[in-house]
């Protein structure tokens, strides 16, 4: 029965071109090295706003929460992260591109990336950003080893350089490989944050909660022992 359902759906899925989960397995994921701290996330937010936010919303994250979460001031958020047209400080980070236009330009609307890291994993996002290559057969001129026939062009090509399918450099990168790795890791860290902003609060609260419960457990144990002293073994 499950098989039938999956066959039916696989058929539908194949007819919709850009679903590529099955093809992912061929590429080994690179590990994204980043520190999950306010400085990294602030850099990531800025990079995301510069290179990604024009098309990809992170609509569950409101600009205003960057102030308490990342320790940025309201004016820094407004100047470095907020998109100039139509963005509202108290609202979610919505791309300015209309879905109708997106569909006309790219064939598909760019997905919201709020939960992307939790859905696909940080290493997937990091590797994806490193996997673009020049492919003249694609309408955009771009293809991706991790996500074959993806609609998205390599928006970081002017920084990370351009490679062909075999990995030969066609255009040298403007950044050193280490700089480009750090930049993409910062973007990945930012998307890790957007996928679950509670992580900052959880990490801050953790030691207190655990400390309290350890203390409670010790006291409860001592109380238990005191009560049980008169139970004959």
């Amino acid at each position: 029965m499950r098989h039938i359902v999956r066959c039916a759906v696989a058929g539908m899925a194949l007819s919709i071109s850009v679903l590529a989960d099955a093809a992912n397995a061929a590429v080994t994921l690179e590990h994204a090295h980043y520190r999950f701290d306010a400085a990294t996330l602030a850099r990531g937010a800025k990079l995301y706003a510069e290179h990604c936010l024009s098309c990809h919303s992170v609509r569950y994250v409101r600009y205003s929460r960057l102030v308490p979460d990342l320790g940025m001031t309201k004016s820094t958020v407004e100047q470095t992260v907020m998109l100039p047209a139509g963005a509202s400080f108290d609202r979610g980070m919505i791309s300015v591109m209309k879905p109708v236009d997106a569909k006309r330009w790219f064939g598909t609307a760019p997905p919201d990336l709020s939960l992307e890291v939790r859905y696909r994993g940080a290493d997937w996002v990091y590797t994806y950003l490193h996997s673009f290559y020049w492919d003249p057969q694609r309408p955009s001129g771009w293809n991706n080893r991790l996500f074959p026939n993806v609609a998205m062009p390599d928006v970081l090509a002017h920084l990370g350089g351009i490679q062909d399918r075999q990995g030969h450099t066609l255009v040298a990168s403007a950044l050193t490989p280490a700089e480009f790795d750090r930049m993409t890791a910062d973007i990945t860290a930012w998307l890790r944050y957007t996928s679950d902003p509670s992580k900052i609060k959880r990490m801050a609260l953790g030691p207190y909660v655990i400390g309290f419960l350890v203390l409670f457990a010790v006291l409860a144990y001592l109380l238990k022992r005191a009560y049980w002293r008169d139970v004959e073994r």
């Binding site: 029965m1 359902v5 959880r202 609260l205 909660v209 144990y221």
Partner: protein, 402 residues
């Protein structure tokens, strides 16, 4: 204060209830580690009800808003993430507690006469809990929720003659949508919790009628002092309330470690595929159930024929009801039955193995091991009436041992 107490006492049997179920209820003094999990399950039930009330006040059961309302709980509602993680972690901890509680029952023969009803009610609680977990799993309306709903409701469709009608009834239409979410919410929030709470009350009442079993599997009431109190029994309150408080502290410590440091437990407690909204056009790479239901899913997949697979699944789920009558040995506890102990270990091991297989992508290579494990699981129940007749037993002590 004293006057108030008397005023209540003339109108409500508070004193009697406390005496009957706490201070005057004698439990064996030799409970071990495995005896924590009954009260731990009760604790998680409380956590689930309380966190559920808060979640319900922000959740919208609608196909277009359910996923977003869950995200608004996670992102915008003050402490919403904590409440939701408590609820999602609570499910897994509930099943951990229940599985250990059931293992305890198997190990020490806690289902044996006169505790058959206690076992039957308890096992029904477990089945109700599976239904509760399943309905709750669909509500966030992520993609795994959607496909979980799709797959399970189509299993109902395999029932001969009335299947299609029942499946449409479960879905509230031909497909999964608004109507499905609304009826699943009614089940998850009203119907099943009421059944669960009712069964828990019955379970405790039945327990207090027959008394607790213990790791030695002998009756403490056979040896009483001159005043009628059992020699090897101690009042539940204060001895076990204070011991369970310590148990609860450790349990909550582990609970908090998960909620704070690994709320998704790497996809085990919250499925990765549920971080994308329901999409009828895109099946997740592998539609597999949550870990606590995966043994049954492995059983279902082990048999290629749909009707036979579902029949086998029904048998595997129903057969533990019969276990009080399948075991014929006069000795209860596996402490004094080495063969039976081995059988319980194989039963638990095959269940765990099936659980692992049920979480893997469907692969032909996993078919033979799944069938062997299913065979071992069923063999426990098939062989028990015979083995329990002939198995060697050790000398059972008359009084409980430490």
């Amino acid at each position: 204060m004293h006057n108030f107490y008397n005023w209540v006492d003339r109108r409500f049997p508070f004193k009697e209830i406390v005496h009957e179920h706490l201070t005057g209820y004698y439990a064996p003094k030799n409970f071990n580690f495995l005896y924590y999990f009954g009260s731990m399950a009760l604790l998680v039930l409380l956590i689930q009800i309380l966190s559920g009330i808060f979640l319900l006040s922000h959740y919208h059961a609608s196909a277009t808003q359910a996923f977003d309302s869950i995200q608004s709980i996670m992102y915008d509602v003050k402490w919403g993430w904590l409440i939701r993680y408590l609820h999602t972690t609570g499910v897994s901890f509930f099943f951990i507690a229940i599985y250990l509680h059931m293992l305890r029952g198997y190990l020490y023969g806690s289902f044996r006469s006169p505790r058959e009803l206690l076992w039957i009610v308890g096992y029904t609680i477990y089945l109700a809990l599976m239904a509760e977990a399943y309905f709750g799993y669909v509500l966030p309306y992520g993609n795994m929720s959607y496909w979980g709903a799709e797959v399970i409701t189509s299993i109902i469709g395999a029932i001969p003659y009335v299947g299609h009608w029942l499946s449409a009834l479960a879905r509230g239409g031909l497909g999964i949508g608004d109507a499905t979410l609304n009826r699943f919410m009614a089940f998850h929030v009203v119907l099943v919790p009421l059944i669960l709470i009712g069964l828990v009350v019955l379970h405790v009442l039945a327990l207090h009628r027959v008394g607790s079993n213990n790791p030695d599997g002998i009756e403490i009431n056979d040896y009483r002092r001159s005043d009628g109190r059992p020699w090897d029994g101690i009042p539940f309150h204060p001895y076990y309330t204070v011991k369970d408080t310590f148990g609860a502290a450790v349990f909550l410590l582990l609970f908090a470690l998960v909620v704070i440091y690994a709320p998704t437990m790497h996809g085990l407690f919250i499925d990765t595929a549920n971080f994308t909204p329901a999409n009828p056009l895109h099946t997740p790479a592998d539609v597999t159930p949550a870990w606590y239901l995966s043994p049954y899913y492995a059983m279902l997949r082990a048999i290629p024929n749909k009707a036979a697979g579902i029949g086998m699944l029904a048998l595997a789920i129903a057969i533990p009801y019969a276990v009080p009558w399948l075991d014929r040995n006069p000795v209860r506890s596996s402490r004094y039955r080495p063969v039976y102990l081995g059988m319980v270990i194989i039963l638990a091991g095959s269940f765990l193995g099936l659980g692992w297989i049920g979480m893997q992508p469907a692969a032909p290579a996993l078919l033979p091991p799944a069938r062997i494990l299913l065979g071992l699981y069923l063999a426990f129940f098939a062989l028990l009436p015979v083995v329990s007749h002939f198995e060697p037993t050790r000398a059972v002590p008359q009084r409980v041992t430490a």
